[in-house]
């Protein structure tokens, strides 16, 4: 862990606010030993996958890896693992390496609604993303050093693309622009399929465009501002701009420009692919090794035709390893799955003290709550299932008391062991569920499980046994830090 004195913290925070692009962030990561260059010649398969998997085993400290010598892709670069460890996430948030997940959770939760967006515009002629432009004879394989992410994927995927689009029915509404991460499978030199579901903003827009027979144009951004990559995956309300949200959450300005097809895009991204939905066409898509650690099936998915590609000079193609966890996907979205659920719950239940939805995009979540009365936590759990993310992702919910740190699984297991009765479990059958849940009998439909591991309270007739109360609080935390410093030899 880096020495977290006041000067270091303020320097790190200022440095993070100054990050305006992927390149800026890679520079910051390299300064802290959190990005390495892999210049030995590698084959696209299986080398890139193997190296990415080996790195992601170190969830706390793995560096981003930049490849610049890939067989068959002379002069091209790709990077994986940019958000692949908690230390990289900490640096992005302006925190020192070694910051705990709990500290980062409360950092993010504290930023919610507490800052205003700083969006500036850059003309297309001044935007780095438009330095090089292709409008004819486009071959995505000639621009992107792609590789098969998991061995039995159905093709070559862009798995860390932020896709921007305007509402096809209200194209002038800035707030109804959607920016989301969707998996894209290359389907020939200038086509790609996009996987989504009706509940996602992109799904709604595709359905609307096809229902009304109007064009749906998209801009696929690759190698993006790391804050947008972090926050564009966060479920927020449909009318909220992800750009404004990301800027506010980062406390940093974000520069936008226009894509050639009229969509607001990040001015400093590495690559943007402009495309248009092919109305009514579906192509075979998948399988794809997804975040639950299993392959999705083969489906017939919407397809887009590429109309132009812009990129920076000597662009860096950013991709992700995703599959059986932990992977970069988990560190990329874990905290920012948890924080919105926390903020949304606290609007009705300020008794909620923390939310840990790190596990497989929230397929399992742990919520800590100050229990007001017997059974109260169960109502809080039901409210969580009504949040935008909870609706389809919160499959297993464990409710714990506020004296349990939901990020400390030993404490969670203690609560399960000592505070759960067999009839404290609720199964809500046949509800909406994310289709790629591998345990589903019918994809898209499933059971939610609530385990109430909170303590007994009146009017429950059986009170809890008297608890041991070990010392806790800031004094103990300081002592813990001192012990770790002594162990490292920082103090004697």
């Amino acid at each position: 862990m880096e020495r977290a004195d006041g000067n270091l913290r303020s320097n790190l925070a200022e440095r993070a606010r100054g990050v305006g692009s992927l390149r800026d962030f890679l520079e910051l990561l390299e300064e802290h030993g959190q990005a390495v260059r892999w210049s030995d010649r590698v084959m696209p398969e299986p080398d890139l996958r193997n190296i990415a998997v080996a790195a992601s085993r170190d969830v706390n400290n793995a560096p981003a890896i930049i490849f610049d010598n890939i067989a068959g892709y002379p002069g091209k670069r790709t990077v994986v693992g940019v958000h692949g460890s908690w230390d990289n996430i900490a640096l992005l948030l302006g925190q020192p390496k070694g910051t705990t997940i709990r500290e980062m959770f409360f950092d993010i939760a504290g930023r919610w609604g507490d800052a205003s967006a700083q969006i500036s515009r850059v003309s297309e002629g001044q935007a780095p993303v438009h330095e090089c432009r292709h409008e004819e004879n486009i071959n995505l394989y000639d621009i992107l050093p792609v590789y098969r992410i998991n061995e039995y994927d159905g093709g070559f995927y862009l798995a860390k693309a932020s896709v921007a689009s305007r509402d096809p029915l209200e194209p002038d509404d800035f707030g109804k622009q959607n920016v989301g991460i969707y998996r894209l499978q290359i389907q020939g030199p200038d086509r790609f399929s996009l996987m989504t579901i009706p509940a996602h903003d992109m799904g709604r827009q595709i359905l609307a465009a096809e229902r009304e027979g109007v064009p749906l144009k998209v801009a696929v951004m690759l190698g993006n501002h790391p804050g947008v990559a972090l926050f564009a995956a966060t479920p927020i309300g449909y009318d909220e701009s992800e750009y404004a949200y990301a800027s506010a959450m980062m406390g940093a300005p974000i520069r936008l420009t226009s894509s050639g097809n009229g969509i607001d895009i990040l001015a400093d991204s590495e690559i943007v692919i402009e495309a248009e939905l092919v109305l009514g066409e579906r192509v075979f898509e998948g399988p794809f090794g997804e975040f639950p650690g299993s392959y999705s099936g083969v489906r017939r998915a919407p397809v887009f035709k590429v109309t132009a590609v812009s990129h920076r000079q000597n662009p860096i193609f950013e991709n992700i390893y995703i599959g059986r966890g932990w992977t970069e996907h988990d560190t990329l979205i874990g905290l920012h799955t948890s924080a919105p659920i926390y903020a949304q719950l606290r609007q009705t239940f300020p008794e909620v003290t923390a939310v840990n939805a790190l596990y497989q995009h929230g397929l399992t979540g742990i919520i800590a709550v100050k229990n007001r009365m017997a059974g109260f936590a169960k109502s809080v759990a039901l409210r969580a299932l009504g949040t935008p993310h909870g609706l389809m992702y919160l499959k297993n919910l464990i409710m714990v008391d506020a004296d349990i740190d939901p990020f400390d699984l030993n404490q969670v297991m203690w609560a399960l062991s000592t505070r759960t009765r067999a009839d404290d479990i609720i199964v809500l059958p046949n509800m909406a569920m994310v289709p790629i849940d591998p345990a589903a009998v019918t994809p898209g439909k499933g059971h939610h499980l609530i385990i109430d591991a909170t303590s007994y309270l009146p009017p429950d007739p059986v009170g809890e046994a008297h608890l041991v109360s070990p010392p806790t609080g800031p004094e103990i935390e300081e002592l813990g830090k001192r012990i770790r410093q002594m162990q490292r030899g920082d103090v004697r």
């Binding site: 067989a71 093709g155 359905l207 009304e212 075979f284």
Partner: protein, 79 residues
């Protein structure tokens, strides 16, 4: 270039989408099946692209396309 057989569905109809070239020499070719949309690079490990060695559960029979779920059922637009 002779079309390659699809490692996934066995179709003989495929298209070469791109060749990777180092120092003037082709080091691999990316192929795409015209029938099942599978894409592969001919330099990949045999376990992924040799139809005989690929795991059986990842073979694909597309003789009945209707059995594959459609993502966002397209509506019958008239415009």
């Amino acid at each position: 270039m002779t079309p390659a057989q699809c490692p996934r569905c066995g179709s003989d109809g495929s298209t070469a989408d791109f060749r990777g070239v180092d120092d003037g020499e082709t080091v691999w070719t990316i192929w795409r099946c015209n029938d099942c949309c599978f894409s592969w690079r001919d330099s990949e490990p045999a376990s992924a692209i040799d139809r005989k060695l690929r795991a059986g559960e990842f073979a694909l029979d597309i003789s009945d396309p209707g059995r594959f779920p459609v993502v966002l059922q397209p509506s019958n637009f008239q415009k």
